[in-house]
Structures are given as structure tokens and as C-alpha cells.
Symmetry: C2
Subunit: 310 residues, 2 copies
Amino acid sequence: MRAAVIGGGRVRFVPDYKDPRPRPGEVLVRIKLAGICGTDLELLRGYKGFSGVTGHEFVGVAQSGKYAGRRVVGEINVGCGECEFCRAGVREHCLRREVIGLTRDGAMAELVAMPEENLHPVPDEVPDEAAVFTEPLAAALRVLESARVRPRDRVVVLGAGRLGQLVARVLALTGCRLTVIDRNDWKLGLLRGLGAELRSSAEGIENAADMVVECTGRPEGLKTALRLVKPMGTVVLKSTTAEGAEVDPSLVVKEVGVVGSRCGPFEPAISLLRRGLVRVDDLISSIYPLERVEEAFEEASRSMKVLLRV
Amino acid sequence: MRAAVIGGGRVRFVPDYKDPRPRPGEVLVRIKLAGICGTDLELLRGYKGFSGVTGHEFVGVAQSGKYAGRRVVGEINVGCGECEFCRAGVREHCLRREVIGLTRDGAMAELVAMPEENLHPVPDEVPDEAAVFTEPLAAALRVLESARVRPRDRVVVLGAGRLGQLVARVLALTGCRLTVIDRNDWKLGLLRGLGAELRSSAEGIENAADMVVECTGRPEGLKTALRLVKPMGTVVLKSTTAEGAEVDPSLVVKEVGVVGSRCGPFEPAISLLRRGLVRVDDLISSIYPLERVEEAFEEASRSMKVLLRV
């Protein structure tokens, strides 16, 4: 099959990659659209030493099983099915898990194999170009599961990139007092209309936020977050790639809670997309054919969401 | 008055230090016993650039006001009385606060001045040698306010030093499955009888703890805690001095909550001491007269609790 394969510091189109072989309980999904995420760009730089078919944001058509012939999106964590976390329904924390497009072949290809239980059907009202945002939107929704947001809270989102955009849009639905900080005016501009305060700098709002959501992925993001958060407030870290971030003593002095937040719930994400409560069409920078994956990655490193049509 | 004064990298006895002058709302307390805490040792090394009378753990006799003539202990944060935190009764987070023995003259002296509202009378059943532990015991109790401990939880305390001892003793009261880790056998030995698992190493219990309480004060403590905690578990940081601790990506991958925990509630601490539910007498290494404060600090750096009799 045709596939986009990562390895040795580059991504390339492979016209004759081996077809995936579904294991018991797994089905094949024929991919329609796949999205390039910040994590894909990190994989390119060697994150996790992964080589294989990249891609974990997709919409496609199930080839067999109970969703055969229907459009589906899919959760990316594949659990062992036996451990305490799998038994509790939290396969994203299975310690023996595989992750689609991160530790096993992913969605930037004609076909991907994954457990049927990971799939969610896409309602007809949701076009492919919106459905492909289900996975990152679910990750944004995870913020609301990671910590409590109260309508009177002042919440600051650091970074208006791909993830920050979705996090800000989800937070805006809570009625909280929202501030988004990014040095890039164009990115901030995409959030006009949310009713949020848009700032190019964190200066002057120290100790003011009940919650800060770190979406920059830069090590200094945690330091900024700890400066902006109120005593006894919460910092939500969304980026796995912010290695080397140092814990400030103010974490203890201010008794701040710092909580990691990763993958989120698909059904609520699909529901928000179906009801048009979170707009995503304005986040699409380009759509490339799979064959031009190298160009697509190149553009993704300096734009918003880039999609691949398979 | 006689006082122990910190400054220029050393602590020394001063026979004729200026008497404190109470401000409106403040009273004088004549100190009976004061304790040397890890923070005092840090102040000696230059932490916060403080110079003046050190000491924030004490029991003494109020010289005026509603507790005149009675034995008292005192909370160490002095708020502005006007900000959002002071109005909410959380003066320990007043952004303009002073702290007794850390930013203004403290308790290793004949007299200390502090707000009457910071004082708590000591019941007759509690001897001076136990009452002087009220402040650190309150800090240990703060762990139970910082995060929820459930009786079935496995809780790991890293470090069996002065603070770890009290944290472990408080946690043992919850019925949780408690593990304490320290390389020092003698320190661990003081916890025999708690029903806790005592270990000299963190090896072999990775991903096993619902909660880890970091009491070592060393930068690598956070890394160990993030290794031992379960996915979605909690790490409580008790040490302000662990500067340079790096955030591991596992904080996000495992969606761990890291929460800072500082000063705690005095009344519950006094109650536990009064009812004998937390033993502290075995933690006293020595009692020195104030005049021998240099020796006392020297011993404190390599033993458990050292007290000064004023």
C-alpha cells in the first residue's frame, strides 16, 4: 500500500509499504484524511526513536466488523486488556500499551489496523475535514477532565498553536474568563470572536490565573505558567515534549498543582463537532496528497493544521 | 535581649540584640523552646538572603493580650490583612506576607513579636517538648489538605528526615498502605512500629504508588517520585529548597498531578499532640541552651530534631 514512513530523521512517501495485518479483535480502516500533529514533527526529530508509518489523527472507513463501510475515527492507545488500567477502562495508561502512529504503524497510509473497540463512528453531519480533528479535540477536552474549571475562573492558555487553538476553543465554552498568550499575531487572530483576551506577552498578569494551560511545548513554558498562576491554582501541562523544564520553588511556596494531561474522550469531541460548538475549518492551512508528505511536513512546521488526503 | 542571629553564612549568639517592638495587633511572646528546622539550615546557606533572628518553631508564654501568661505556639505567616487571600483567611498565601524567622525576626531569642491572631494556646497536657513540634506537624498535616489520601491507597514517603518523620506519622493515621524510603537505617528505625514498609531503596516499586510525598529536599527526589507514582497518581512536594528539579515527560505521559504543600493547620496538630496520636519525643536529638546555638546548628545538620532552650 501507499504510506508515509518516518525514520532516520526524515519522512518519505513509500508506494509499496507492506499492508497491515489486523490481530484478533482488530479491523482495517481505509484512511481518507490524516492530520499532522506536533508529535509527528517531534517523531521526525527522533522522539521515541520511532520508525514506521506515522500519523494518529485520521478519519477513514472501517473495512470489516460492526462499523464495516462506515466512517470512523479511532483512539490511539492499544492496551493489553488485562492490567488494572485496562480493566478500569483506562487503556491510555496501560503500562504495556502500544500507540497508533507512535509505537506501531499509524494512519498516514491507505490502511491502518487497530482494535475495533478503539473506533467511533462519525455522524453524517460531520465532514471529513472536521472529523479528522476528533483526536486533538479530545486531547483538548482532557483539560476539563484533568482539573476543574469554574465559570468565574481566570484561565490562561500559553501558546496558540495547533493544540492551544483547540484548548482555547474548548475552554471558551465554559464561560470562564479566558486569556490566550502567543507572540504570533496571526495565530492569536484565529481566536478573535471567542471573547477571550488575546495577549502577545505574559508581562503584567503575574499571580492572576486560577488555571494556566501550558500548550507551547517549550521548557520555559512551565516557568511562565508558575509565574502567572495564583497561589493554590492549577497548571495543566499538555506537552510531552517539554523536556528539561525546571520546577520552580514557587510550585511549593504557592502550593500550585501541576497536572499532566494527554489523550481525551472521543465521544464528547464528536458531539461538539456535530453541533458546531467548536469550529475547526479555519485551522486547516493546507491539504496535500499523501505522495507529497515531505512538503506537507515542511509546511506543518511553520503553519497550523496540515492534512494529508490518502 | 539574648538572640541567635543568622547572617553572612553563619549563626551566632548575640547577648544584647534589640528587643522586638510589637506593631498594632501584635504581642510579645517569651520563648521557652525553639526548634531547628531544615529551612533554618538553608537560611544559613544563604536561602532568601535573610539576616536576623532565625527560628519559626517555638513554644513560649504570651506577654499580653488575651493569652497573657499562657503558653502559646504561633503560625508563622503574617498577612497584609487586606488582599484576597487574607480576606479568605489564607494569610499564608498573602503576596505581601512576612514570615516569622524567614523574612522578619523569629523565635530563637528571648522575645518574638507577632500578631495575636497567629497564636494558639497550648493545652496543659502537652509538654513544651511536644508543643514545639506544632509548626512542623501542621506542615505534615498539610499533605492531607493538599491531596486526598484514601485508606486503600499505597502512599510512599521519600525521605525519613525531620519532615518525612512527621509526614509518615501523620499518614500512618489514615490507614493507608505506607512505604517510607531512606538510605539511613537509623532514621528508618525511628518509624518501626508504624506498620509501614521501610525500604532503603526505591528499586522495584515503579508505577506502584497512588501518592508519593517528596520529603528529601533533593532535586532528584521529584524524578524518583515520578518513577514510583502510578499513572494518574499524585506527587506531593514538601520541600521549597529542591531547586533545579527537572520535570520528567512522564508527568504528562502518566498524567500525574504534582502539588506543592507548605504550611498547615495548627489546631489539628495541637489536637493530635494532646491526644498522643503522633509521638514526637523520640525525634529530639538534643536540647542546647540558646548560647550554644552554633553547636546546635552543627548537630542539627547531621541528626534529627535539635531544640534550643532560651
